[in-house]
Symmetry: C2
Subunit: 507 residues, 2 copies
């Protein structure tokens, strides 16, 4: 961050409610934002991110375009009241984040700086030892703004999905990857026909019962608009999955899965023909464009319709891209899309003037006119990045910490600590290494060599040093690398020098 001209600051974990009211996020963010009160009943929040605090900090000390651009950053505790914390450090409520905020005179300047941070992020993730990571375009979500990228660590245990095309290099978060459909439609011109389906409600049951494929159905997914009594019904081919993020952008409302009771909605039998639900927005996915010969709900409990021809039977004004992209779909370049699981470890956003405008931060430009500075913001999930490295860098014996982020660079195993010479030599070496600025873990337990080696492998520090009566007899110690097991003996007097040289090759 310093190398991209960042200046370190520290914001509070607890922010006054008013700050988020100014930006509008006090209302727009859901229950992930923890709201609390102090002893005087004054509203506070636990900060999820610090755009408002950054604007607040700068708005009183920055008044001229000459003071821009600059970037401030911090490494600090954040709290998000996640509905489903999981996976150790992957999705936790309290976590350490590196977050930075930049202020610019022009969009052009922001874009140039954004590129610099983008490159810095790639260097950071490489340097901490991540092997498989990609950056993808992403949804701006609660942050606002237009352009955003996520840095994703690829892993089968990831909770996010990303969409890749090997041919053209396209990379995107699932939330914004366009889905391109290629269905063959039944052209038989079969008429609409009501069929009794009884207790069959789920797409899987219908397909099994009627012996048809999922893509031969039109599914309905029902959402509730948050904080009201409206609903949104999304229709798509039965083999498509509705993307909440895409649907939100279309309806421009905050939606959640519908769990309500409404007699006008025949749940499990909802279809686009003769649909009659009050306060309801209906959205059709691109996958239904020109579709025919489909089975859909009859809006009547126990019944479906067959022979649905969208053009003939439903008046659809417009089709939207509201389905998730799928593995095997065609990329716009003609290549084939691949979907991979990943963990989001960083994200960068071009925020525009959302925060400076709502919080009235202005600077005088070179014509003496007031302008809202243009902002960018840049986050790294420190714990997630660490967990992602651990996920990728390991073997059957345990972790293999890359040296740049290993909590200790050297792990001394002193064998036979009851031996005074061993104990003294090991202690001396530990003290010398620490003094040389090399964090060193010292296993001085009264335990067997086997136990010590197994623990050293499990914990995975990059360099292991063995001090034993046997090696000391030859006035030597043994240095080995966790990553590849390579080992060598070194004269005691050269130990620190040799360890330093070994470490230098690793960082």
């Amino acid at each position: 961050m310093n190398n991209v001209d960042g200046q370190e600051v520290l914001f509070p974990v607890v922010l006054p409610r008013e700050l988020l009211e100014e930006s509008g996020r006090y209302l727009s963010i859901g229950s992930e934002l923890v709201r609390l009160k102090d002893r005087n009943e004054k509203g506070l929040v636990l900060a999820m991110t610090h755009e408002e605090a950054a604007v607040q900090l700068c708005k009183n000390s920055v008044s001229s375009y000459k003071q821009l651009p600059f970037m401030i950053y911090q490494i600090q505790t954040k709290f998000r009241d996640e509905a489903r914390p999981r996976g150790g450090l992957i999705r936790v409520r309290e976590f350490t984040m590196k977050d930075g905020y930049s202020f610019h005179n022009t969009q052009h300047d922001l874009e140039a700086y954004y590129e610099r941070v983008y490159a810095a992020y790639e260097r950071i993730f490489s340097r901490i030892g991540l092997k498989d990571f990609v950056s993808v375009k992403s949804d701006t979500g609660m942050m606002g703004g237009d352009i955003a990228h996520e840095f994703m660590s690829l892993t089968e245990v990831g909770e996010d999905e990303i969409v890749l095309c090997a041919k053209c290099g396209y990379r995107s978060n699932m939330e914004i990857a366009p889905a391109k459909h290629n269905y063959k439609n039944d052209k038989s011109g079969a008429p609409l026909k009501e069929i009794f389906t009884g207790e069959l409600k789920e797409i899987g049951q219908i397909c099994q019962g009627l012996k048809i494929k999922e893509e031969q159905t039109c599914k309905a997914v029902i959402f509730a608009v948050k904080g009201g009594d409206e609903t949104v019904i999304a229709f798509a081919r039965g083999d498509c999955e509705i993307s909440e993020a895409k649907l939100k952008k279309v309806v421009k409302k905050d939606i959640v899965p519908w769990t309500g009771q409404d007699e006008s909605i025949a749940a499990g039998n909802v279809g686009p023909v003769n649909l009659n639900v009050k306060k309801c927005t209906v959205v059709f996915d691109n996958s239904l464009t020109g579709a025919s010969g489909l089975v859909c709900g009859a809006n009547k409990s126990g019944y479906h319709l067959s022979g649905l021809d969208i053009e003939r039977d439903v008046k659809v004004k417009e089709f939207f891209d509201i389905a998730k992209a799928k593995q095997g779909q065609q990329c716009s370049c003609g290549g084939t899309l691949k979907v991979e699981r990943a963990i989001e470890i960083g994200n960068i956003f071009q925020l525009g003037v959302k925060y400076t405008k709502s919080m009235e931060m202005t600077v005088l430009d070179d014509n003496g006119k007031l302008q809202y500075p243009i902002m960018g913001c840049y986050g790294i999930g420190v714990g997630r990045a660490l967990a992602s490295v651990a996920q990728q860098s390991r073997d059957s014996k345990g972790l293999i910490w890359p040296a740049p982020i290993a909590p200790w660079k050297v792990h001394i195993c002193a064998l036979r600590t009851d031996d005074k010479v061993v104990s003294k030599k090991a202690h001396d070496l530990h003290d010398k290494l620490e003094k040389a600025g090399i964090p060193t873990l010292f296993d001085d337990r009264d335990a067997s060599a086997g136990v010590k080696f197994a623990d050293a492998d499990l914990m995975g520090m990059p360099i292991r040093v063995v001090v034993s009566p046997k090696s000391l007899a030859a006035d030597e110690i043994e240095i080995s690398l966790r990553a590849n097991g390579e080992s060598k003996k070194t004269a005691c007097k050269n130990a620190v020098k040799e360890i330093k040289a070994t470490l230098k090759k690793l960082v």
Copy 2:
């Protein structure tokens, strides 16, 4: 902390309510503890300190006396909902604390370790550049336990008072310093007499009105017991100040200044004779032992009594030490007490088994019996320590940061940054110093030498380096010390070496 065998950990800022319920502090701590709820209505708190979290962390991994002793510490954000935040970093609600927790098999072992940390704290505060600080015995307050010390930075703006004796070296927090009184009593044997005092209520008004000294009065201070309808009335000589901390220890209840309305209490006219207040505990201070010839309230609006003889007129079972010690009082050694204002920057506590017992953390001792580990805890207010250094280390031009804690060690003032040679040399020097691990602030603004020097003095980095067209003409730069203004010129090629050597002398 590492040098006293500490191991670094990181606890959460937000803790589950249950943890503090186990120790009993969820109820015993007042409104400084912020209580909140998550999305599922589960109780949480913002941690003020982490004894419970430390016990929770260790109780599952420690089971044998062989694993003791050890100490864990963290440097982390704490939140206390202070009633009166003030003084910049001195009393804030959110602050950074270094807190450590040690676990021992025996009280003896705790005491020996406590001494080690005590010595380490003295080294730390000296090293960060505090000139005037003392350690004093202190009240254990909400922490529990018996023995505690505070480290106090002496300053006239401090909000704490400490009591010192130059003769015997006695040092104590005001809260526990015993007050030793030496009054001459009126032996005239004057009778009790009701006198009309009208609107005179305050001691000062009474003394002025009746032309007597404060010590010739018996004052009453009224407190309310928290969370109930009880009151506590403390009587003392009019020139004494009641110590809430001492009084709390006597009544063993949590008390706050009384602000209520109670017709049975004639506020401003409360006295010990014929006092008739319901649900009231009355406590007499040592200063009243054998006192006579005093003026006190008559428990009747508008009236006082003169000629009060405590032994004759009031049945006092026991006198207590509930007044604050005062400057000029006698120390038990015969010396004279001095009272100084100070800021608390650190504290250490011998906690005993309060937390391990209440939270059921046990280890097997060498006889195979379950024992509760004995704990110590050790805090440093990082921001307060910083503010205290700033308070002590300054002159009329600004701050003078001691090198060990200066945020930048070197401040480069590049004069005439439009001069390409100056700009290049200054940039090069900055980059070389940073690469050598010396944090360097670089003033590359387009501003005059006067502005730059004034700002450098104000900000107070220990070493100032001037790069100017004039000095560069002789292929030199100028190095000067903020503390004493000493300056010298050095050939450009030796700059980094010379700055390193200068810095080495300062840390």
